[in-house]
Symmetry: C2
Subunit: 104 residues, 2 copies
């Protein structure tokens, strides 16, 4: 299992607009090979900003890499610039591989 996260630091006054923009967009993930689940996460507040993170679960890192090279990826990111004024700097990407899983 592989988790791709993108961290966004959003000034509190932009949080509502940032959420509306994400919740209102089209997702291009459904049905892609190796796609498991997507969550948009709201994290802690610090220094007047809120940490948000997109959180996409893939069956494997290679499934994720396949997606980054796909037409669907380009379609999903063509409007990415429209949210840029809402957050500080650039989103910070972190990819994680599960080395252990414990279920219920």
């Amino acid at each position: 299992m592989y988790i791709a996260m993108n961290r966004f630091t959003v000034p509190k006054e932009n949080a509502e607009a940032f959420e509306a923009l994400w919740l209102g967009r089209d997702s291009h993930l459904k049905g892609l090979p190796g796609f498991v689940e997507f969550h948009m996460l709201k994290g802690p507040e610090a220094d007047g900003s809120v940490l948000y993170s997109s959180h996409t679960v893939w069956e494997s890192e290679s499934a994720f890499i396949g997606w980054t090279k796909s037409e669907a990826f380009r379609a999903a990111h063509k409007d990415a610039g429209s949210s840029r004024p809402l957050y500080e700097g650039s989103p910070v990407f972190e990819g994680f591989t599960a080395i252990q899983t414990i279920g219920k």
Copy 2:
């Protein structure tokens, strides 16, 4: 859905020992109210260190808070000090609430 993550910065030379310690420990999560799934994640390498993150999914933030106040939590953390020499500084906790979920 609520995700509790603890980030550990582990010097590369300690990575093997850090993984062995996590993979060898007893889990106290199975069967707890509101527990969904646990993953130990291995993330990117930078400046000679590897980012690891524990990643526990709960049905809600209140289920997570219940766990932090439980006897099982104390039992799970009684030996936490034994891994401390393996990572830099303190683990950094981040709690996230899902504001959107997209399935397959």
